[in-house]
Symmetry: C2
Subunit: 213 residues, 2 copies
């Protein structure tokens, strides 16, 4: 398999964690997002959406991190990243989507660029924007995790799932502008449990071959 | 089942289409988003994330439109909204997420409110923002649909899937500031095919009991 990614992309980070948890080896094709390599014709021919990550598995090219991870889970079932029962699956997916739909897209690089370039917002305003959407999202996720008996060592029970795979890269993002994580003790606890696992630890941005200081 | 929604919420619109396609009856609890009913303690007790839609099925409360729709598909398999093969499932989910992760969250009401209230952007700037993200997303989705032999009468083959369920409400959103859909002929064609189906037609905002002029 071939992963089109970038060390700092948190959606690519999710897929790296999933590949590691499944024990699947892959070749990395690094696309430098800040210099716009994801918008070059060669990559658009593979992924017309012009976003990383994309995963090539044989002749097929898959896009969108959550779709890729569910594909990996369906084609390589062990260890499972989504539980078996429909209600549990819905809970794990909802927690994952609370990050992937409700926080991350609003704080994505292209949105921050639009704020700075088109709306002439200064660094302080971009920082407030960035941390605002994480705070709103983490407040809800913390409450949802703290309120449920389904929450275990990880977001759902005692083994990592798609929910943790989305949460951890978002916690990494929260460090960009040093968001205070004090109000989110359950998120912090789960983040720590995840990072104790080599699959999460080895997937972090600073440990990738294309990492920059 | 009980759907917590709002006629104008496009994420609730998705769930209404899915319920209609499955032939499932539901009671509507309307939460007026502009007056902030989704942030009241009664609703936060059900959904700590404070977002619609939420679906109550017996004692369980499910959140996040895509997670809800996959739950409905797993518990009421006919007609299927996600295909059988892992590759096809990944394609349908990726198209759905190209709307649900890459367009809709950035144009959500709370984001538009932040632009207007915190960043003091005028109506014209909000309109440009709104249409910019739909254009970027639709450009990629149009290219992905036009390039694939899997695209049929609908986004994937000749029956509606999760991908169409996400696409149609986004096309409705594009009408808010009269985005020119000329560059997206495949999206227009599929939208028309969907709206010819009662399940889509009856789910549209203007036909809901809580619709406002």
């Amino acid at each position: 398999m071939k992963l089109y990614g970038f060390f700092r992309s948190s959606a690519a980070f999710r897929v790296r964690i999933a590949l590691n948890l499944k024990g699947l080896a892959y070749d990395l094709v690094s696309l430098h997002l800040r210099s716009g390599q994801q918008s070059k014709p060669e990559f658009l021919a593979l992924n017309p959406l012009g976003l990383v990550p994309a995963l090539a598995d044989g002749d097929a090219v898959l896009t969108q991190s959550l779709a890729i991870i569910e594909y990996l889970d369906e084609t390589h079932p062990q260890p499972p990243l989504v539980p078996k029962s429909p209600l549990a699956r819905a809970r794990v997916r909802a927690l994952a989507q609370a990050v992937a739909c409700d926080i991350h897209p609003i704080d994505n690089l292209r949105v921050l660029n639009y704020l700075a370039r088109e709306l002439k917002q200064d660094e302080e305003a971009v920082k407030r924007w960035f941390n605002h959407w994480i705070s709103v999202g983490f407040k809800g996720i913390e409450a949802a995790l703290a309120a449920s008996t389904e929450t275990g060592k990880f977001c759902h029970g005692d083994s990592p799932t798609l929910a943790d795979i989305c949460l951890v890269p978002q916690v990494f993002n929260s460090m960009r502008y040093a968001l205070d994580l004090g109000p989110y003790p359950t998120i912090q606890r789960i983040h720590k449990a995840c990072m104790a696992l080599p699959a999460f630890d080895q997937a972090q941005p600073s440990k990738q071959p294309d990492a920059e200081p």
